[in-house]
Subunit: 291 residues, 4 copies
């Protein structure tokens, strides 16, 4: 009957519209069916094996970073993270060492043959930072700082884009599109937990976002187990879940002495914990997908 026909047209219209929309995006699988693989320091992020990005929350000193770098290198990890520009809720909290911090990262990374992942927060700093970092991290609070996204899209350097605190998956994908539409397609997406009513964890790790992002886009997808859970005791189980569900990488924070860390002291691993974390991952059945 007519009503039924009408319903069919309606549904077709709905799908058509959604299709059109997704087709348009450069980051979408519709546009490019094969996986994007990003090579950094010999690691091929997006190649089907899990990769690791490890390091302290904030750069505090050469010694602190070097100590972590040594441990990281020993575990076969190739990407070192560390914050030099720290976006903090309060203006009176430690704001990071800035360019000085990037220089420390670069020096240590050279010594231990690591690549540097570090957050940039001001579009004006991107050019200056290029000499010191291998991956531009864009943090959760800046996921819709479109000026920063455009600036990151205008240079030839991999970008690790974190999901916003309360961003939908669709907004996340569009944020990546801001970068790619400027010419830079080397983008890694990073699920890092979303804000919900639940307070047992710092954020709620939206693990389903991983397969959805892998389906909708051709980009590698990482999981930051530190910021999503905010709990040391959940880092290992969360990493296992992330790898099992298909994440291309896991990010976590390691500090030589978390108790005195200038930021995030409650959630960073110390070095023995990090070694256990890596070895348990390698021993698990999942690990055969790994390293």
């Amino acid at each position: 009957t007519i009503e039924h026909l009408f319903k069919e047209i309606f549904k077709a219209g709905l799908e058509l519209q959604e299709d059109d929309h997704r087709k348009a995006l450069l980051v979408s699988r519709k546009k490019k069916p094969e996986d994007t693989v990003i090579e950094i320091n010999g690691e091929k992020i997006g190649d089907g094996h899990p990769h690791f990005v490890m390091g302290p929350c904030a750069v505090e000193s050469y010694e602190q970073v070097a100590e972590v770098a040594e441990a990281v290198q020993k575990q076969g990890v190739k990407l070192l993270r560390g914050g030099a520009f720290k976006p903090r809720t309060s203006p009176y909290d430690f704001q990071g060492l800035g360019m000085e911090g990037l220089k420390i990262l670069k020096q240590v990374a050279d010594e231990y043959d690591l690549a540097v992942v570090s957050e940039i927060v001001n579009p004006a700093d991107i050019e200056k930072a290029l000499d010191y970092i291998d991956v531009i991290q864009i943090g959760a609070r800046n996921m819709q700082n479109f000026e920063l996204l455009k600036a990151a899209g205008s240079v030839d350097k991999p970008v690790l884009l974190k999901r916003g605190l309360a961003a939908t998956i669709s907004e996340f994908i569009n944020a990546a599109e801001y970068i790619m539409s400027r010419g830079n397609g080397k983008i890694m997406l990073c699920e890092r937990g979303i804000r919900t009513y639940e307070k047992a964890t710092r954020n709620t790790l939206d693990i389903s976002a991983v397969p959805i992002l892998k389906q909708e886009t051709h980009l590698p997808v990482l999981v930051d187990v530190t910021h999503s859970t905010g709990r040391r005791d959940l880092l290992l189980p969360a990493a296992k879940a992330a790898i099992a569900i298909g994440a291309d990488g896991v990010m976590a924070e390691v500090h030589p002495d978390p108790a005195v860390a200038l930021s995030d002291s409650a959630q960073q691993m110390d070095i023995p914990m990090f070694e256990t974390f890596m070895s348990e991952l390698k021993q698990s059945a999942l690990v055969e997908r790994t390293l």
Copy 2:
């Protein structure tokens, strides 16, 4: 100095209070450090291996249930789920077959050597249902229907308690305590997704709840991958994540012909999909923990 001392007292007080509170609960690890293992139809839920609970959303007919039961049995699954009392958002949606549905479930389960898991929604129905079901399911909407919890706590039958739509982990644990405080300690907890702003999935699977519940309580923890994701394409990846993070079981919906199902048609697996689901899980590295 005095300020520092004060801070220490303050922290100690905080921990003491929390400790006291948790110690009091019968479901807590503090009260009983070893895992509770619940034996149903030969399956030992909580024994460190993943178990499966499979079946249609709603019981529609003998034939429909039997067809699923056959497939379920073929895969070595021992627990059959099926809804006879259906809590539906609208009073005009299919409300289930009621006691008639329970009788169908029982008949089919006997024929295929399966145990029956089915939701009860009225405290007055629990006694009547005991002859037909092996596990009393308490649904998300009724997690804080305390009269129902008390009634389920007063009988000697395993209970599968689902987390409420927007329940905190602490409220979830207290809901289980309502059951156990009445004498029934055979409780399985089931994470089934929480309500958040994200609409790409029906709910947001709070995967971190699994290790937290395992730490805080001695009860088995299952994951319902159907209601948490609401998407057929995410059932397999979500199940892998659940097992990897340590869940004691996975629950999902299977229907002979989802397109004509009287409820949840968009998210149930058909039988070939279910067979693929089970065989991919068995083939994955995770599966060695399994079956």
Copy 3:
């Protein structure tokens, strides 16, 4: 062009579907354009003037209730609330005096010429409670306890239905429909805050729900300022906002000595605060709509 035509058909279809759905509901404005007015103890709830429902969180003793009733009566308030069956997160918290509490409420209400509003939590208790209460309250945790809704819909007694903790407005309307579809159309809806990430208030008062519910349904809409904010200092401003946006009534908790209350001690008003609350509301420009 064809595309444009298609879009128009699409939009028309969308509206048509929504229309159809809403038309079907007995509680909808489409079904009954004029406001439902519910008369209780001389108060006409839904007549365009704000009404008040005041009283202690829980019934603790005859003296406690009588003291509040006297103050309530003095302010011209006609509806007395008080909990006899208390749904509490922990089984070890005070669970209310039960039927004994209802008898106390009835006795006090008769003495002070007040009507009684009290929560029922078990379908089996509704019949028994009819002799003691004037309004059946269904609490937030039970908004989708459909057995309870059906039982409340089968008697001839006004129902005050609270919005669930994380219920959508659409689910809330459908819960009311469960009651009305059984024959009882005397339903008052009560917004009581929803669960969000924000922790400065106990819940987040969704003030926009008031005009939406007034538009979508013909039922009176109240606002519970106590449970939505959970803060004594916000009761008065929240009540003003509620009346300004068009609520038919305001509900709040009053206790002779909140510090020793057996539940909700932090958020109940004492009697002098309640008197200030009422007199400031009456003095405000808003109050002319009132009493």
Copy 4:
């Protein structure tokens, strides 16, 4: 007894810590008990009377802005809003006219004796914008773009800071502190709805945030009724609630022809609607607080 004593010490410690924290902030009432009043174009924002900020979502042309400005002026409104730099979810949506848009706003504002409120999104643009705007708006997506906050804090120009999409009240206050700690204390806070699970409105207007922000800080607090509700039919009721609860101002979007607007077409008022909106507010009892 000792336990009780301990509890008291514990509570005292808790309050002490919170006190200390709030005392430190320049924006807090503890630091400055009296209300901050910001004078812009003769309007004294924060003086206890409600003020209005009205105008189109985006600047599209001189004619469009002039048409709105004329209507705005006729209603006695003194502050004209309009977006020149538009942060949009998709890079392919209209991004605003940029500096050209600011020039149009300035020209129209001069002709109609209005002050200009316009969003700036790049720290590098703040200096350039100073000649064209009277109030720097910082949008919800940039509430924790700390580089932008610092830049706005370094100039002598009032700032209208919108609450982030999922920002807590505490984070919002700290974002204001970033501005004030740089020397600029002329800050207006603007509640604009928060992201929740409810989809009947674009966001959930957190009306309780208004009295909380007024208590915690000495800054004026506005409510953006357009973005919080996202529905034309809710603008007037939401504005009434905002004024009743004590907001210092109301912000809303007006467009000569919303159907063809380049952004937010579904939620802007046309000019006759705006005139009705203003006259109904003026006629309401609330309005005596006004204009």
